[in-house]
């Protein structure tokens, strides 16, 4: 469609600089400087750190996203500042701007570029998600299952604490999470009452705990450290207090610890319900 390009100089003013070229140059230079700086300086401090393979993956993803966002942010921001400085009404003036109503070329270019950007982001996210599940709760039948031996651990959320069951260790139930380092773990997150969300910050793991649901998430911790665990879904009165510290330890230390737990809770283990991937809560009677 033949639309006026819109770059015709208004007749009244002294010759103006070529704003399009000047703005473009500023933006490109700023992007070329800022994007590598952001990627190199901000990228490494993006959450959640390198506590696990999945967490490291998130750092990469977040770096890619912030790297792509920087030029877009700069485009609009510099444009706003530029137009605020150069396209002002003179004091007390009553000038009219040029009656440009559109520009087919710019609009088409914009649509094509944003579409490409968005589609590439979605493709990238999909690939990253399907690689290893990205530490995100993947429901009872995950598509992306990492190969190799996995240590199954059940995370049982209830108002207002997490407990952990180790089915391969006689179904022992503990009040703290301890995991061996460099071992692929298969977390089965479930709930006994309302919806909670198991969030192990340093591990880059988040999975909602739903009653009667087995929400599976894979994670391979890579660092021996203490891990902050919090509930990330509003679950009632003491939601803010539903936190805990987990520990990633060496395989030997894990063996010692789990043997100790089995011995310690042996007498109580028989009172636990039979291990199952999901539990159905008792019917609730409010006010009782």
């Amino acid at each position: 469609m033949a639309v006026e390009p819109g770059h015709v100089e208004p007749a009244h003013a002294p010759p103006e600089p070529n704003h399009a070229r000047r703005f473009g140059a500023i933006w490109i230079v700023a992007s070329l400087i800022a994007t590598p700086l952001v990627v190199l300086l901000v990228g490494p401090i993006m959450p959640p750190g390198n506590g696990s393979e999945q967490a490291s993956g998130h750092v990469t993803d977040n770096t890619v996203l912030i790297g792509m966002a920087t030029p877009v942010l700069l485009l609009v921001l510099i444009y706003l500042i530029y137009s605020t400085i150069y396209f002002r009404q003179p004091k007390g003036g009553a000038l009219e701007g040029p009656a440009i109503r559109g520009n087919a070329r710019i609009q088409t270019t914009w649509i094509v570029i944003t579409s490409l950007l968005v589609l590439s982001l979605a493709a990238y996210g999909t690939v990253r998600l399907l690689e290893d599940g990205a530490g995100s709760g993947a429901g009872p039948n995950p598509v992306a299952v990492p190969s190799g031996a996995k240590l199954p651990v059940q995370v049982i959320a209830q108002e207002w604490a997490f407990t952990y069951r180790y089915p391969t260790y006689g179904g022992v139930e503990t009040t703290h999470l301890v995991l061996p380092v460099n071992q692929m773990v298969e977390l089965h997150v479930t709930s006994l009452d309302v919806i909670h969300s198991f969030w192990a910050y340093q591990l880059g793991v988040k999975a909602d705990a739903n009653p009667n649901t087995d929400n599976i998430v894979f994670v391979r911790p890579t660092k021996r450290e203490s891990v902050q665990i919090r509930c990330a879904e509003l679950c009632g009165l003491w939601h803010g207090y539903m936190f805990d510290t987990g520990h990633i330890v060496s395989p030997a230390a894990f063996g010692v610890w789990i043997a100790e737990q089995q011995k310690r809770f042996a007498s109580g283990a028989k009172y636990l319900p039979k291990y199952a991937t999901k539990y159905i809560p008792e019917p609730l009677r409010r006010g009782e």
């Binding site: 009656a99 109503r101 520009n103 039948n141 910050y201 793991v205 990330a232």
Partner: protein, 632 residues
């Protein structure tokens, strides 16, 4: 257009006590209280095995729900909403116009003048906006310290819930209510809305709803936040019923408001007001109305199911009896995501409507802007499960929702391109409404870019349910809706009230709000990335520094709102100063009408031969001699 002569009909001056008898707010309140107690009484008379524990524990949800229902019905009857159907039922002629020619009294009752309803909305919503804002101040006071100091955990959750629910509920009509009702009929050259009585009904339903939500404090509050997730919803005390009734009533109000707007815009346009000449604000109202009509019934349905679960022991969401909490999440967000666009879209419309006036240029890319709004409208129904990325529901579909969520940024990008195009070589006058529009551009940019992190499933794993999300939607909703809400107030108050707001105070309001807003919500991104969840009254001690910073900034937001209040009280009540007829030199039709706008708006229905953006010096050679296919 000459001013319409004062109405011939002037009611005889009657003594005050006589004027208080009739269908008005006073009667409505009295009948509302009566209706409440009737419902409460009936609720306590229902006997049966299922209801025994309710009776025993004084936790009678049936009674409270029926009380609310009776209260609302009584309130509406008192306002006079039953008069019309009852008159028609008995074959009597019914009044087609309610209170349109009365004095101040028309603001306190059922009035079918869309301009009165607009002002009712502005004041009514403003009151609840300030109540919800005070809740936010209390939340931030609590978060000054990592452990609870000011309020207990229960009160804290109630505050969070009330703040969120009130803002998300009342402010859905934040722009459509006041400015949509007031200006859409004028802008399209109509004398009234399609359904004036329904228009009034939406307002009074919303006020009843707001009162019901506030009354939750008498019933123990509710612990679920604005999302009302099951089965926590099912566990909660009676305060939860307030939430359910509130949101259902808001849903009804929203749905009716949307229907009314769609009918008005489709059927009541003046000659020449073609779809391609429709002011962009009207387009945004149209798009929002589609969302309201299609999304709100989902909310009403979900809440009805929740109400049945709580009262008559159905088990839609009770796991032990075969229900599923996923169902509620699904239904809620199927409403919930369009809902956030119900909040954002009118803001797009305001910005694009105001920019041409202050840049003295036609709107750049009109068709692109319309496409953007309709694109957002359509796509917003296909993204809701991104709220459930980590929930384990339909995990295999996450790539699809990631894609649809990221695609929705394409039509949103159209709006940005139109803003930027309109600013190009503009002659911008930085009046207060323009400042708020520029503020919107910055805020929504940050909000949109942070949304990219949330739409990406791997990245969302870190930020989901954290303060990052909270910062993101405050940037889009507060930075998007509230900034444009104020832009619209500063822009249109001279028309609505014929008075001008003081510019100095307005500028102080803008700058303090803009700076404090960013200083409040920018650090929240960092807090979220450092692992602070939403809706908690306790946090890691090492995060206290940032939290104190955020709280203090939030208090400055509160102060800047006080500046606004002072401005309103001073400029509109204490020292009113008459506004110029068209202070912004706008070419939109509402500014060509006399102030105050006559009851019938137009003596003769106007005929439009262009869109309202005929600004700017024509280019050489003048292509605008013929209607230009704007936007290519």
């Amino acid at each position: 257009m000459s001013a319409v002569a004062e109405p011939a009909f002037t009611p005889a001056r009657r003594p005050v006590w006589r004027r208080l008898i009739g269908f008005n707010l006073l009667t409505a309140v009295i009948l509302g209280v009566a209706g409440y107690y009737i419902g409460w009484f009936i609720g306590h008379q229902i006997k049966g095995k299922s209801f025994e524990f309710m009776q025993a524990t004084d936790e009678n949800d049936v009674a409270l729900m029926l009380g609310y229902l009776g209260g609302v019905i009584g309130f509406l009857i008192g306002l006079g909403f039953a008069n019309y159907p009852v008159s028609r039922m008995f074959g009597r002629p019914a009044s087609l116009r309610e209170k349109e020619h009365e004095g101040i009294g028309r603001y306190f009752g059922l009035c079918t003048d869309h301009k009165v309803v607009g002002i009712q909305y502005l004041v009514g919503i403003g009151v609840f906006f300030f109540i919800a804002g005070l809740n936010a101040m209390l939340i931030r006071t609590e978060l000054l310290h990592p452990t609870p100091t000011t309020v207990g955990p229960n009160q804290y959750l109630s505050l969070v819930g009330m703040h969120g629910t009130m803002m998300m509920g009342m402010m859905t009509s934040g722009i459509l209510g006041p400015f949509g009702n007031y200006f859409v009929p004028i802008m399209i050259g109509a004398r009234r809305m399609a359904f004036p009585r329904i228009e009034a009904l939406t307002f009074w339903l919303l006020m009843a709803a707001g009162f019901i939500l506030t009354s939750t404090i008498f019933f123990g509050g509710f612990p679920t936040g604005w999302t009302g997730y099951e089965p926590l919803n099912e566990q909660a005390v009676m305060g939860m019923d307030s939430y359910i009734c509130f949101f259902a009533l808001v849903g009804v109000s929203m749905c009716l408001l949307g229907l009314n707007m769609i009918a008005t815009i489709v059927a009541h346009r003046a000659p020449g007001m073609t779809w391609s000449r429709l002011p962009i604000f009207v387009w945004s109202v149209f798009a929002t109305s589609i969302l309201m009509v299609l999304a709100a019934p989902m909310l009403i349905g979900a809440l009805l199911m929740a109400a049945f679960d709580r009262t008559i022991n159905t088990s839609f969401f009770t796991v032990a009896a075969g229900g599923s909490p996923y169902l509620f999440e699904n239904l809620f967000w199927f409403f919930g995501h369009p809902e956030v666009y119900i909040l954002a879209l009118p803001g797009f419309g305001i910005v694009l409507e105001l920019l041409p006036v202050f840049t003295r240029k036609p709107l750049w890319g009109y068709r692109l802007a319309v496409a953007g709004m309709l694109g957002v409208t359509l796509l917003s129904f296909f993204v809701w499960q991104h709220h459930l990325f980590v929930s384990g529901i339909n995990a295999d579909l996450r790539p699809f929702y990631m894609l649809s969520t990221e695609i929705i940024s394409i039509p949103t990008g159209f709006i940005f391109l139109c803003v930027m195009g309109t600013l190009w070589k503009a002659r911008t006058r930085f009046s207060v409404p323009m400042l708020f529009c520029l503020g919107w551009t910055f805020n929504f940019l940050i909000g949109g870019l942070s949304g990219v992190f949330l739409s990406d499933t791997p990245s969302d794993t870190d930020t989901h349910g954290s303060f990052f999300v909270m910062a993101h939607f405050h940037y889009t909703i507060m930075g998007g809706l509230i900034f444009t809400f104020f832009a619209a107030i500063y822009y249109w108050v001279p028309k609505m009230f014929g008075l001008q707001l003081r510019e100095g105070l307005a500028k102080l309001h803008f700058w303090s709000l803009f700076i404090a807003f960013n200083s409040t919500f920018m650090p929240l991104f960092v807090l979220g990335m450092k692992g602070m969840p939403r809706r908690v009254s306790t946090y890691a001690p090492n995060l206290q520094g940032l939290n104190v910073w955020v709280s203090i900034s939030a208090f400055v937001i509160g102060l800047s709102m006080l500046v606004f209040l002072v401005n309103v009280i001073y400029s509109l009540i204490l020292a009113p100063r008459r506004a110029q007829p068209n202070p912004w030199h706008s070419k939109s039709i509402e500014w060509q009408l006399p102030t105050p706008v006559p009851v019938n708006n137009f003596d003769t229905i106007p005929v439009f031969d262009s869109d309202p953006y005929e600004y700017g010096t024509p280019l050489t050679p003048p292509p605008s001699a013929e209607p230009l296919p704007a936007g290519g």
